[in-house]
């Protein structure tokens, strides 16, 4: 979602900087709020209270010597729990085994994302970046108080106490106590000013930089609890029939047969369709199948993908709003002897999380409790409060593991959460679990938008880029959301152009333009947001320029990145580890791409084999990443692997198309995603760094598609401008590697 770059403050002005991608270094003003006033019933285990020591809202040391780290970020697979626990453990000098992850309640006054202003949320690959100092100071404050407690109990100077692996010792007197044993006394100590605490030097780190095992456990034996697994007394399951086209409304409902279905308890009309409530999922679904609904499609969206693409292609021929303007690209292109150009097409994409969207809501009088893999708690609270007409603070959220999100559960309109709230509002007192089927999930919209890019460029006599003009056409993700006022400046939604407007290559005449199209299709951020398309167009087009200049793609890039040492660093490392420039076996080809996103830098070299039938397979990817200090190298490697696998699906096979407004695809047979036999081998190399850590959840995704396309371009001489690639496009006849 929104990219974070700047200074934290709770003011809107600074939030604007954050999403507007101004500024450079990250400095966070860290406060360590005291503990949550009231324990959030479902979210926090009962075993605590009495003599636990809670120096701040993030840590609770229990007499049984367990240390709960209260997680302000959602764990949706990216390893946030492990990373945050590492930061706490480092300064607390706890034993890794004593740390237990606990999900924080929804309370932005305690648990806001420091890079999202007054908002509690996870996204934009910011979990570690915004917590880097805050969680370490939280740990340091706790240790300070434990040491003070030990010094006072043993009547020795603070300086003589050693805290290590969850144990306090005083060598001279032979005294020893675990953190748990000292918790009661520690809670009576004065809370230090967090800014006054000295944090460790990197050379003294014992946990940061090590591949510690993950803290989101229970995922190997079925005990981890997701929203789908919540069962409450008297709970009903709701399945909703949505309009077949976006913007359609219910005109009339015949629900007698649905109501007669065994297990069905109620049928309700809600703003987003017709909900069938039953004692279990299967009964609800059978009930839904029996509904007869007439739809009012007066305001419905009825266009098709092919027709939208034509409109976008036509717009790409006309000037748009400037998102970047260096020199005079138009003039340089007019004068150039030879102009190279390409028009790119990108389809809608669904997130297709393994756990389809779902949400449990119970409304009681003037309060409400939610169980959800919530990614944007503050937004969900506000939306549900408005649906129910209650105060935002009365919306309690139990944040559970999310079975994948890739941005989907951070819906800026809280779409599925609001839907569940509407149903629960009509069934006050009864907990309701909204369950979407895979078909509901695939067809509900909030897609990665369709885009068309047109790029024109020219080279000078020396073969260096002289001018680059790029036009991007597509919907704005942020317009019409609460983020609009921060992230859309002068008509430019930064998330539409990021990665293109920030093109790092030295090009004297560089212009990036945007046409924002208003279309009735709900769209949303999708793992790496604008970079999903800008990395593809820019990095494949750079290869076309290198080819036109007769230069090696790595050498060509390195020469244009002299002012960008971190780009160069990952590019050099990936090329070296992939033996770039060496001969490959017959039928094999290589391609490269480098891209910065979310303040992290990733280069990938893809090795692709071409078979005699005209197909190809991505065999191996060498990935280099610079994400600042590597908090957990194994989690970083896992995120690079994951980002690569995720980015291969839209390259190879996934697309959502509309046919007169109807979403054509519905499930994994027609919205295929990567399977195990299509996964390449992956080698990840991390650039050593002393910079503050930046994100890894998204930055692995953008470079893979262009790296593979560049490998195919190198082998076939054919550039690929439309995603997904169709295997048939690389026919045997076009494969010179197999011409005898």
């Amino acid at each position: 979602m929104v990219a974070a770059r700047s200074v934290h403050s709770t003011s809107r002005r600074d939030f604007l900087k954050v999403v507007g991608m101004a500024g450079a270094g990250i400095t966070l003003a860290v406060a360590l709020p005291a503990v949550a006033k009231a324990a959030n019933a479902g979210a926090t285990p009962a075993a605590k209270a009495a003599k636990s020591f809670s120096p701040n809202a993030f840590i609770r040391i229990n007499p049984d010597n367990s240390v709960a780290v209260v997680m302000k970020h959602l764990e949706m697979g990216q390893g946030a729990y492990t990373g945050l626990a590492t930061l706490v453990a480092e300064e607390l000098d706890a034993d890794w085994s004593q740390l237990v992850a606990e999900s924080a309640p929804a309370d932005a006054s305690l648990y806001n994302n420091l890079l999202m202003g007054p908002t509690q949320g996870t996204g934009g690959s910011t979990a570690i970046a915004n917590s880097w100092e805050q969680m370490r100071r939280a740990g340091a404050a706790a240790k300070f108080m434990l040491v003070a407690a030990a010094a006072s109990q043993w009547d020795v100077p603070v300086s003589e106490i050693v805290a290590r692996k969850g144990v306090l010792t005083h060598e001279r007197s032979g005294r020893r106590a675990t953190y748990g044993e000292m918790s009661t006394l520690a809670s009576e100590q004065e809370v230090p000013d967090p800014q006054s605490l000295e944090l460790k030097d990197a050379k003294d780190f014992v946990y940061i930089g090590r591949p510690l095992p993950r803290k989101d456990t229970g995922k190997n034996d079925g005990t981890a609890i997701f929203t789908q697994d919540i069962k409450l007394d008297g709970m009903l399951t709701a399945v909703v029939l949505h309009a077949p086209r976006f913007g359609g409304k219910v005109k009339s409902v015949k629900d007698r047969r649905a109501r007669d279905q065994a297990g069905v308890v109620d049928v309700l009309q809600i703003p987003s369709g017709v909900a069938v409530l039953a004692t279990d999922f299967w009964s609800a679904k059978k009930g839904r199948d029996l509904l007869e609904v007439e739809w009012d499609e007066t305001g419905a969206f009825k266009r098709s993908s092919a027709d939208i693409i034509e409109e976008y292609r036509a717009l790409a021929l006309k000037p748009g709003l400037a998102a970047r303007n260096d020199g005079d690209a138009n003039d340089a292109l007019t004068r150039a002897a030879r102009v190279i150009e390409a028009t790119y097409e990108f389809p809608f994409l669904a997130h297709a999380t393994m756990e389809p969207m779902n949400c449990v809501v119970q409304v009681n009088g003037q309060s409400c409790e939610i169980w959800n893999g919530a990614q944007l708690q503050t937004g969900d609270q506000a939306m549900v409060a408005s649906v129910l007409g209650i105060a935002q603070e009365q919306v309690r959220i139990n944040t559970l593991y999310a079975g994948g999100s890739f941005g989907r559960r951070a819906n800026p309109h809280s779409d599925y959460v609001a839907e569940a709230a509407h149903i629960a509002k009509a069934k006050k007192g009864t907990p309701v679990k909204l369950v979407w089927t895979r078909e509901d999930d695939t067809r509900a919209g909030y897609f990665r938008p369709m885009y068309v890019h047109r790029i024109r460029a020219a080279l000078d006599e020396a073969g260096n880029p002289l001018a680059w003009e790029q036009r991007i056409v597509g919907q704005s993700i942020l317009a019409g959301t609460p983020f609009e006022q921060f992230a859309v400046q002068n008509g430019i939604d930064a998330s539409s152009v990021e990665g293109a407007s920030t093109l790092p290559y030295r090009i004297p005449n560089l212009r990036v333009e945007l046409h924002t199209v208003d279309l009735g299709v709900p769209v949303q951020w999708w793992r790496s947001v604008g970079h999903t398309h800008t990395a593809y167009s820019t990095e494949t087009f750079v290869d076309e320029l290198a080819h036109a200049a007769g230069r090696d793609p790595v050498e060509f890039r390195m020469a244009l990145l002299k002012e960008h040492p971190r780009h160069q660093g990952v590019l050099r490392l990936a090329a070296e580890k992939a033996n770039w420039g060496t001969e490959l076996p017959r039928g094999r080809t290589r391609g490269v791409a480098v891209h910065e996103s979310f303040n992290s830098f990733v280069a990938q070299v893809a090795e692709v084999s071409l078979d005699e039938k005209g197909g190809f397979r991505v065999e191996r990817v060498v990935c280099a990443v610079d994400c600042g200090i590597a908090v957990n190298p194994d989690v970083i490697a896992a995120q690079m692997e994951s980002g690569i696998g995720f980015g291969l699906s839209p390259l190879l096979m996934s697309e959502i198309t509309l046919d007169e407004g109807r979403v054509v695809q519905s499930n994994f047979h027609d919205y295929p995603v990567l399977r195990i036999e299509q996964m390449p081998e992956i080698e990840v190399h991390i650039v050593p760094s002393t910079e503050p850590p930046t994100g890894v959840g998204e930055p692995g995704t953008p470079p893979i598609a262009p790296a593979v396309a560049n490998a195919l371009f190198a082998a076939t001489g054919k550039p690929f401008h439309r995603l997904p690639l169709k295997l048939a496009e690389i026919s045997a006849g076009q494969n010179p590697l197999h011409k005898s």
Partner: protein, 152 residues
């Protein structure tokens, strides 16, 4: 309609429609939630259980076909292959979001029971039906090989 399901060695008498998919009998009626709903069309493998030791997509298997069968879910699987796989899953840090992993382990356990030394093609064939959107496939493959090696 009364149906008796033997799940993890225990008989459950349920009064549910015979067309109810085994998945929903297990999740909603027997209240074992480790087996996941992903697609409802046997396309993703998140719902994989064992029926008489063989991997089955429970989301398309009606309970009416389960009379006299032994059903095993992630909660009840105690074979040496499953134990070795679960340990390897932890060692290799396989799970990310984790939602598909019960199904991955059930498919892998059936593979190792039938083939103690699977090669890459065997793994592809046995695991192709299990989608992981976090794309943990590199580690799934490594963990299966590592579990197989530990069992040898």
């Amino acid at each position: 309609m009364p149906v008796t399901l033997n799940v993890n060695g225990v008989d459950h008498a349920l009064d549910i429609a015979p067309d109810t998919p085994l998945l929903w009998a297990i999740r909603d009626h027997i209240e074992l939630t480790g087996t996941k709903f992903g697609c409802g069309m046997a396309l993703c493998g998140a719902c994989t259980v064992h029926v008489d030791g063989a991997p089955v997509r429970s989301c398309v298997t009606p309970v009416s076909a389960m009379a006299g069968k032994r059903i095993t879910t992630i909660e009840g699987i105690e074979t040496k292959e499953a134990r070795a796989l679960q340990a390897a899953w932890t060692r290799h840090g396989v799970p990310q979001c984790g939602y598909c992993q019960s199904g991955q382990i059930m498919s892998a356990a059936a593979l190792l029971a039938a083939n103690p030394e699977p090669g890459d093609d065997d793994i592809n064939q046995a695991m192709s039906g299990n989608i992981c959107r976090c794309a943990t496939y590199v580690r799934v493959r490594a963990a299966i090989k590592s579990a197989a090696a530990n069992l040898a």
